[in-house]
Point group: C2
Chain length 397, copies 2
Amino acid sequence: MIAQTYLDMLNGKSVIRQLAEWSAARGAEIGYQNVFDYSLGNPSVPCPPQFTESMIRLLQTQEPVALHGYSPTLTIPAVRAAVAENLNRRFGMAYTAGHIFMTTGAAGAIAHALRCVAVPGQEVLTFAPYFPEYKPYAEGAGLTLRVVPPRVQDFQIDFEAFEAMLGENTAAVLINTPNNPSGIAYSPETLRRLADTLRAASARYGHHIFLISDEPYREIVFGGAPQQHPAAYYDDTLTCYSFSKSLSLPGERIGYVAANPRCERAADIVPLCGQISRGTGHNCPASIIQLAVAECLDTTSDLSVYERNMQLLYDELRKLGFTVVRPGGTFYIFPQALEADSVAFCRKAQAYDLALVPGDTFGCPGYFRMAYCIDTEKVLRSFAALERFVHEQYGAR
Amino acid sequence: MIAQTYLDMLNGKSVIRQLAEWSAARGAEIGYQNVFDYSLGNPSVPCPPQFTESMIRLLQTQEPVALHGYSPTLTIPAVRAAVAENLNRRFGMAYTAGHIFMTTGAAGAIAHALRCVAVPGQEVLTFAPYFPEYKPYAEGAGLTLRVVPPRVQDFQIDFEAFEAMLGENTAAVLINTPNNPSGIAYSPETLRRLADTLRAASARYGHHIFLISDEPYREIVFGGAPQQHPAAYYDDTLTCYSFSKSLSLPGERIGYVAANPRCERAADIVPLCGQISRGTGHNCPASIIQLAVAECLDTTSDLSVYERNMQLLYDELRKLGFTVVRPGGTFYIFPQALEADSVAFCRKAQAYDLALVPGDTFGCPGYFRMAYCIDTEKVLRSFAALERFVHEQYGAR
């Protein structure tokens, strides 16, 4: 008997993947360099040379049985200690190796974090616009994902709407800052008020409400703004991190869960993750990848192209009359579409070889996402297509 | 709120891990070379040089953005095609890339396979002695694992007991051949009768009962016996494979699910795996590891030490009067203990610096497992301890 649940999911194919497939097919016709593919959040800059060097050195110098041997259930102690030390130094935290659990990227981290702090039947709240994979992550853990409506003027938090949705059954709140798709980083005021709200709600409902902070874009912030670590604001925080964006390693599936040492039962979180792994078949991320990223914690890819692209696109979109909040980080921008139906808007854009993702995918209809992790030269070349699209479809503005 | 389910699991700590920890602690006292640690199934021979060479070549010659980029959801097409071709050539199958889904080892493969063919509330049957992680794998998928009692004279299948346990609610049957812990490979007769039994039961109950074949020890067979691929006997088979043992890469977490092209809805299995991955946070195994193993499909580590150790141990155990079935593969042997309480037996062995795992862990009390993936020199040195243990505790035999 084939499981119907997953058969049903097959029909709900990702809009982003469909667009990416369209871009590839269109590229086969007219040359991929002529398709302005803003669909996929795939880093466009190489990993830092340190990563490649670390990998080669490990392969050339380490004894293979030890190098490729089983990780301990809770992942490699020296790697966990190095991550803890790095976070402490950068964010004034007090993590030890005992608070860090290495995972297969942020997806693995969120899957573990949710199962640590919520039981089937409970709710997890997130804020629109949000990364659409949060839904299968929550449902895979037997939870219901409820989405707080967006505050479109700046994509910070609509606290009134948020407070109205918090309740007895709220086990956790899942945030993503800097945000995919809005590109917005929460301000210190937002993070402080979020922490206050969660403390009050935890007291009101008589249980710790956990904050799950998904922060793979932590290092991609613009204008020299400080990097944020929401766990520094709220004790009951589980941080979910991925090296996919900072080190341009999305295919190598490496990240971690970090349990705030001041959270409820902080010493149990990592052992719980070890148990959760058994049931999901996750086990550890690849040993050699764990060891190599541990040597690259103080470095990143050259991320400057993302800020350069953002500035060019932001100015162009403004010039064309778009309403758009200036991103504080990531490699996404999330302007308002020029008609209420953003799916129709994005479909029309395809005639101009522009691949734009409708905001509906992110729980925020009426907007669209551009992933500008592409060459600056292509961003600049896309402007003529963007201008023709806007002028021909929506008139002079 | 911390999830009680996983807190409860923390108390049921793995007996094998505890023994391994005892061995390490005892080793710190007397030198690890003096502890006869037969506890862990961790390969003792290095990966083949081809794997290291492939990794280094990929790192030195491939463009990093492409090399470390996201795998497609269904994993890397060229890797899947290479695995299919390899299985077809070796086992006369007709797999295509569309039937292969790369996973993080056999653990990931079994977690996916179970979710493909069973829904929460259903049962999966396995045969004692069995790998104890099958229980969390099944429970993690919301299933009940039921264990068919062992046929201790040869550790083939007790078909009478098996047939009595098959029922309406049986979604799948999980086998492991060559077997951990018994070391036994199912005979062609066993596999044929298993297939006949499953076909009859599928017809009787009106649904396809899937065979999930966990075969990480496929290449470790003794006496020049042919390698077995149970999918060749039964259409509704999902094969779960790991390169952990054949290439000595347990830490790199790489394996696959292969759906028999003749199984129910064969074309849907791999897309279903892609959906299942979303909910568990598994996603793909590391890209570079997928690419490197694809270049090593026709090779293995030098596995000859395992057969050498088996022969030595088997002869020694027989000399000491143990009842023991001669292993056909793996790096395990599973003799009958010299008293009914195999936990007590193994505890007494610790006084002789012997780490033996009681069969209770594998659903087969009264027996014990020795994992002889250690140096032959240490196997030979252990015989004096084994002899002292047997003679002092159980008298002349």
